[in-house]
Symmetry: C2
Subunit: 133 residues, 2 copies
């Protein structure tokens, strides 16, 4: 049952930390095979799950997209551009304690929440504006 340290696991952690902008499993895989072309994608998925469970990295579930993985930093939430699909950080100081407001209201045990904002990122907005005149 004891966890074993493997090269593959440290490569996955290293890649997530290096990419650090909420990389997808596939992006992590692509990053690793640059230097270590023999790693299996299944191994990348497995270790992303393991590292998430261990609390070494954070899984970010994006509706309609693949899961993203982030190194652990201060609390923030995310906004997904509906044009290009990229995900950006948003400070979340102002939503702190959001779940405490409903904790007592329902029979539910709340363990957390995901907030995904939708919008159009500055870059895509610029592109749209230039297209429409």
């Amino acid at each position: 049952m004891a966890r074993r340290n493997t090269i593959q696991r440290s490569l996955v952690l290293e890649a997530v930390n290096k990419l650090h902008c909420h990389a997808t499993a596939d992006e992590v895989y692509e990053e690793i095979i640059k230097e270590h072309p023999t790693i299996s994608k299944a191994t990348v998925y497995r270790n992303l799950n393991l590292l998430s469970d261990m609390g070494e990295i954070r899984r970010l579930e994006i509706p309609g997209s693949a899961d993203h993985f982030d190194h652990i930093t201060r609390n923030h939430c995310h906004v997904k551009c509906k044009i290009c699909g990229r995900v950006f950080d948003v400070d979340m100081d102002f939503v702190a304690g959001l779940e405490t407001g409903i904790r007592d209201t329902y029979g539910f045990d709340f363990t957390g929440y995901d907030i995904i904002f939708h919008g159009v990122c500055p870059e895509c907005k610029k592109q749209q504006d230039s297209l429409q005149g």
Copy 2:
């Protein structure tokens, strides 16, 4: 280009309204084929998309689950039970105007947000308690 009324489209709308508890495409399909076994699943998906675009129903994207579809009611957000995976309604009066707080902070055009709370529903909590003594 003009939209045509089809039996299939009205069946999909009818099923969503009947199930009304954030049914998945598959659940909508299963509901319809009880009476109309010849409808294609592709048609169900297509009409769920169309009806969402038309504003007749609401698409609810759940991280890690299939999209759910809801008839339009007053604003509410959702909480997903991490045990059974079911999705429940939550009043969202207290989070109204959430995105206005960040609208000016970034170069982003915010169009909305999804909040998915996580937790354990009363039923699963009860089951857990009885297992653990």
